[in-house]
Amino acid sequence: MNRFVYSKATSPRDAVRSHGKSTKAKYLAGGQTLLPAIKQLLDAPERLIDLSGAGLEGIDVGRKTITIGAMTRHADVAASEQVREAIPGLADLAAQIGDAQVRNRGTIGGSVANSDPAADYPAALLALSAIVHTNARKILAERFFLGLFKNALKSGELITKIEFQIPTTSAYEKFPNPASRYAIVGVFAANFDQSTRIGVTGAAHSAFRWMEAEDHGRGIKNLSNVGLDQSTFNNDIYASATYRAHLLRVLTLRALGRL
């Protein structure tokens, strides 16, 4: 493991200032991806800026939206009565991330900033028309996830909170890799007054909305003829692209069936 200098930010502003857009600095949220990456020499930042003292945790429920602070742990989202009442699919999703110990440390902001193609939250962000708030601006989820571990964040830009639209109903269906607990495919479906939205993770290089299936909406019994662009689907030792496409259809039907 490479050595680094640790500091603890006392506010979002303090964190951004001490990061200073340096390519050598990284924010440390829950550390459940970053620290293993550093241990395995996949990453070697020279400075880590801990966000745990920056006051970024908390869940705020409004009339139309739920806003979750970037440093809120997965276990707290999973256990929140307010989240479960307003967006049950989101509480369910949080309860399925990693394992109990990962959920006790891992944070929503860290997961979103990392933009792992198999992370759970991105599916919910897309299905729930979420807005990613940063120190500098607000970014619509659809403009946020841009590819394999790629997103719209600029160097030093800090996620402060995520704002979700409250749907009328929601459900998350996931087929986890039994070893890593990441999604081989995960589907978040949500009904709003006028529309159904489907967010998909794990299947492709980046989380995406399956709009062709959204058009058919609730009540659909068979998705085999619905268009699906598989050009960026993941094809690896765990599952072929074809298998993932099949899983996606099965899980989407299940999720829609629970709305």
Binding site: L35, K39, A100, Q101, R105, A179
Partner: protein, 158 residues
């Protein structure tokens, strides 16, 4: 850097490297070798301890991040000579073979029961997803956790 850790109810002021993992400080500096390191990839759970009442992988947390917090390791569970009910249940049910995963299993199990006292066998299996037993003795581990749960929930003998 200077940190303060309360470990098993004893306050320690320690000078640690910024990049030291909590598990390294527990084992190397404090000699608490009951907490194990079973992997490099944060997947095995042999290193689980409680930090401010939550089970965490001490190999995936910096000692610096635990500054000012309360850590309980497997050494801190027993009350003197009297084993914690979960430790007792692991012994009773033969919930260990080589014993390497056991400290982590027990620390995870204790938090699991504290959070959901009336848990079912399925919930135990789900709750231990983060702990791997290389001897694969899961049947007896699950049995032990269920017995440990009844022990923990029983009114304390006075």
């Amino acid at each position: 850097m200077q940190i303060q850790l309360t470990v098993n109810n004893t306050v320690h002021r320690l000078d640690v490297p910024d990049s030291a993992l909590l598990v390294e400080v527990l084992r190397g500096q404090l000699g608490l070798t009951g907490t194990h390191i079973g992997c490099d990839t944060s997947q095995c759970g042999a290193c689980v301890v409680h930090v401010d009442g939550r089970s965490v992988k001490s190999c995936t947390m910096l000692a610096a991040q635990a500054d000012g917090q309360e850590v309980i390791t497997i050494e801190g569970l027993a009350a003197g000579e009297a084993l914690h009910p979960m430790q007792d249940a692991f012994r009773n049910c033969h919930g260990l073979q080589c014993g390497f995963c056991t400290p982590g299993m027990i620390m995870s199990a204790v938090e699991l029961v504290q959070r959901s006292p009336g848990l079912t066998e399925a919930e135990v299996r789900k709750g231990l997803e983060g702990n791997i037993c290389r001897c694969t003795g899961y049947q007896n581990i699950v049995k032990a956790v269920l017995e440990g749960a009844s022990g923990m929930n029983a009114p304390a003998a006075s």
